[in-house]
C-alpha cells in the first residue's frame, strides 16, 4: 500500500510530463501543418500609392523571369468587390479575384471539372472564369451543371470553364470554396485601375525564403526609393515566429510538468522517511544478525529504485495511453515523444534514488541497540 502510494506520485508526475509535452508537440505540428497548407512557400507583395511611382505587370514578370531559379510561380492579385449572379440567385460574399494561370498551382487546388485559366485567356482578356465548389453548388446545383454556364459578375457575363474541387467539408458562404477566379487582364478593366498593387510569388524551396524576400525588396526599393510604399511578406517568416512562440509555451508547460515531478519526488522522500522510521526495528534486527551498513543501504536503495522505476514505467504507460486518448478526442495526431519519456523516466528514477538514499543512509547509521529498542 505504502509503496503503491509512492509509485502513485511518480506515476502521476511522469504521466503528466509525457501528456503535456506530447500534446503540445502534437498541437505544434498541427499548427505548423495547417500553416504550411496555407502556403509557407508564398511571398506576397503589396504596393501602395502607385499613382506616382509604379511597377507594371510586365516589369514584375521580367523580374520573375530573371530570378526563376528562386521563384516558382507568380500571380498578380486583382480583388474585385461585387456580386455573382445566375438568374435570380445572387452571391454577395464571394471573393472575386483576377489571377494568372499560375494561381491554381500557388493555391495547390485540384480542378473538379473543366480547365484552368490559361495564358491565352489572359492575353486576349477572355471573359472566362474558374469558380469554387460553393459557387457551383449554390448557383447551379453541381460542378457538372455549372460547367459551360454563364455567370454574371457585376453585370459582366463570364463563361465558367472550370470548377475547383471542394476544399472544406462544410462549405460556407465566404469560406474557402466561395470564390471566382478570372484573368487578371480582364479584372483590371473591371476594377477601373490599370495598376496592379498585389502579387503572390511562390519560391521553389523553403530555404530560399529569405533570399526571395531580399531580392523582392531590393527590386522594389530600386523602383520606389521608399520602403514605406511597399511590403514583402513571407509566410515562412510568420511560421518561424509561430514556432518560436509555441516553443516558449512548450517550455512553460514543461516547467509546470517538471514541478509536478518534483512534487512527486517530495512525496517519495516523505514516504521513504516514514518507511525507514516504521522499519527501524527491522533494521535493528538485521544489524544485530550481522548486516553491515552497506547491506542495509543497498536494501533500501534497491527498494527505492525498484519502486520508482516501476512507478516510472506505469507512468509511461498511463501517459502514453492518455496522450493517445486525448489526442484522438481533440483530433490531434498525438504520439508520446521519446524525449519526454526518457527525461521524465530519468528524473523520476533519479529523484526516487536520491530521496531513497538519504533516509537509507540515516537508517544504516542507526545503532542496533537503539533500533531494536524502538517499537
Amino acid at each position: 500500500m505504502r509503496s503503491f502510494l509512492t509509485m502513485l506520485g511518480i506515476i502521476i508526475g511522469v504521466a503528466s510530463v509525457i501528456i503535456l509535452v506530447s500534446l503540445v508537440n502534437a498541437y505544434m505540428s498541427y499548427m505548423t501543418d495547417s500553416f504550411a497548407s496555407m502556403g509557407t512557400n508564398q511571398i506576397s507583395v503589396n504596393m501602395r500609392r502607385m499613382s506616382t511611382r509604379s511597377v507594371s505587370v510586365d516589369e514584375m514578370y521580367a523580374f520573375y523571369e530573371e530570378h526563376s531559379h528562386v521563384f516558382d510561380n507568380l500571380s498578380p492579385m486583382v480583388s474585385i468587390s461585387g456580386t455573382v449572379k445566375h438568374g435570380t440567385d445572387t452571391l454577395t460574399a464571394t471573393s472575386i479575384t483576377g489571377v494568372s494561370e499560375d494561381y491554381r498551382s500557388i493555391k495547390d487546388y485540384e480542378l473538379e471539372y473543366g480547365r484552368n485559366i490559361q495564358y491565352a485567356d489572359i492575353a486576349s482578356r477572355q471573359q472566362v472564369c474558374v469558380v469554387g465548389a460553393y459557387v457551383a453548388d449554390e448557383l447551379y446545383g453541381s460542378a457538372e451543371k455549372a460547367y459551360g454556364e454563364t455567370v454574371k459578375i457585376n453585370g459582366n457575363a463570364f463563361t465558367i470553364v472550370g470548377i475547383v474541387a471542394r476544399q472544406n467539408e462544410d462549405m460556407d458562404e465566404g469560406g474557402s470554396d466561395d470564390f471566382v477566379w478570372m484573368p487578371y487582364s480582364y479584372a483590371v478593366k473591371m476594377a477601373w485601375d490599370a495598376n496592379i498593387g498585389n502579387y503572390t510569388f511562390t519560391i521553389r524551396d523553403l530555404s530560399n525564403a529569405s533570399q526571395g524576400t531580399r531580392l523582392l525588396e531590393e527590386f522594389l526599393f530600386e523602383k520606389f526609393k521608399n520602403e514605406d510604399l511597399y511590403s514583402v511578406t513571407a509566410m515562412s517568416e510568420m511560421l518561424d515566429e509561430l514556432n518560436s512562440m509555441i516553443a516558449m509555451v512548450s517550455a512553460g508547460l514543461g516547467g509546470i510538468a517538471g514541478i509536478s515531478l518534483l512534487v512527486a519526488g517530495v512525496g517519495v522522500m516523505n514516504i521513504m522517511l516514514v518507511s525507514v522510521t516504521e522499519r527501524t526495528r527491522e533494521i535493528g534486527i538485521r544489524k544485530a544478525l550481522g548486516a553491515r551498513r552497506r547491506v542495509i543501504m543497498q536494501q533500501f536503495v534497491i527498494e527505492a529504485a525498484v519502486t520508482s522505476s516501476l512507478g516510472g514505467l506505469l507512468g509511461i504507460l498511463l501517459g502514453s495511453g492518455a496522450t493517445s486518448a486525448v489526442g484522438a478526442m481533440a483530433g490531434l495526431n498525438a504520439a508520446p515523444t521519446v524525449s519526454a519519456i526518457v527525461v521524465s523516466f530519468g528524473v523520476s528514477v533519479g529523484i526516487g534514488l536520491l530521496f531513497g538514499y538519504m533516509p537509507a543512509s540515516r537508517a544504516a547509521r542507526l545503532s542496533p541497540i537503539d533500533a531494536l529498542r524502538s517499537d
Binding site: 544485530a288 544478525l289 545503532s367
Partner: protein
C-alpha cells in the same frame, strides 16, 4: 570445555546524563568458558542489559578489554562488530524479533545470508535448524501465524543457523506463559547439553536457577559469580 570464550576485564560503560554521568557497568571482570550455561541476573537498571550489549558485540565499552573467542572486540568498528556478531553470536530476544514480512525459512536464513553462504547451502542449513526446533513443516508460514512459543523457537532456530560459538538469550521467556517458558528453557538446556555455550539475561531468579552458573549484577557491579547451587543457597 574449560577453555575461556568470553573474557571481560575491567569493563566500564559510562553514559553522560545531563550534568552527571551514569556508570552502567562499573568495572566488570568476568570469564565465561565454552560449554557453560550462564545466567546473568539483575533488576532493571542494574546494568545487565548494558553488559549484554557489550557481550553481544552490539556496543563497545567505554574502557576495559573484551576478548570473545580470543578476538579483541572492545576496539572494533561498526562493520567488524557486525561481522563478529554474525559469525560468533546467536541472539534470542524477548520479543522474538522475527521479520514479519518474511516466512520462517527466510527468517532463519537471514544470518547465513549476511555470512554470504550460498543459496543452496543456506536453505539446507536453515531447514536443518528449523527441523531442530520442530517447525520444519511450517517453513512457508509467516511469524504472525504462529504462537508465541513457536515464534521463540523460530528465533532459536535462527540463532542456531549460523552455528555460533555463543548463544545470547535476552529474557527469552519474558513474553511467554509458564508452560511455553518451560519448553524454551528445556530447549536451551538441551542445546547446552549438546555443547553450546549459552548466556541468558534475566531479571527472574527462578529462571536464573535453570542455568549452571549465575552472575548477579547490582548497580553496574558483579555481586555474585558462582555455581547455581551456591546461588540457590543465598536467595
Amino acid at each position: 570445555m574449560g577453555e575461556p570464550l568470553i573474557e571481560l576485564q575491567d569493563i566500564y560503560k559510562v553514559y553522560q546524563m545531563g550534568s552527571g554521568e551514569v556508570r552502567a557497568n562499573d568495572g566488570i571482570t568476568l570469564t565465561i568458558n565454552r560449554g557453560e550455561f550462564v545466567a546473568i541476573v539483575g533488576k532493571s537498571g542494574s546494568g545487565k542489559s548494558t553488559l549484554m550489549n557489550i557481550i553481544g558485540a552490539l556496543d563497545v565499552p567505554t574502557s576495559g578489554s573484551y576478548l570473545l573467542g580470543g578476538e579483541d572486540v572492545d576496539q572494533m568498528g561498526e562493520d567488524q562488530l557486525a561481522d563478529i556478531r554474525n559469525r560468533m553470536i546467536g541472539f534470542i530476544f524477548q520479543q522474538y524479533n522475527l521479520l514479519p514480512k518474511s516466512n520462517l525459512l527466510e527468517n532463519v536464513e537471514l544470518p547465513l545470508l549476511y555470512a554470504k553462504v550460498g543459496r543452496e547451502e543456506r536453505r539446507e542449513r536453515a531447514m536443518c535448524s528449523l527441523e531442530r526446533v520442530g517447525l520444519a513443516e511450517k517453513w512457508r508460514n509467516y511469524p504472525n501465524q504462529l504462537s508465541g512459543g513457536q515464534q521463540q523457537r523460530v528465533s532459536i532456530a535462527r540463532a542456531l543457523a549460523g552455528n555460533p560459538s555463543l548463544i545470547l538469550a535476552d529474557e527469552p521467556t519474558g513474553a511467554l506463559d509458564s508452560k511455553t517458558s518451560r519448553e524454551v528453557l528445556d530447549f536451551l538446556k538441551e542445546l547446552n547439553a549438546d555443547g553450546n555455550t549459552i548466556v541468558m539475561i534475566t531479571h527472574d531468579n527462578s529462571i536464573a536457577l535453570e542455568a549452571k552458573h549465575v552472575v548477579r549484577i547490582h548497580d553496574g557491579k558483579i555481586n555474585f559469580d558462582g555455581d547455581v547451587k551456591d546461588y540457590a543457597a543465598i536467595i
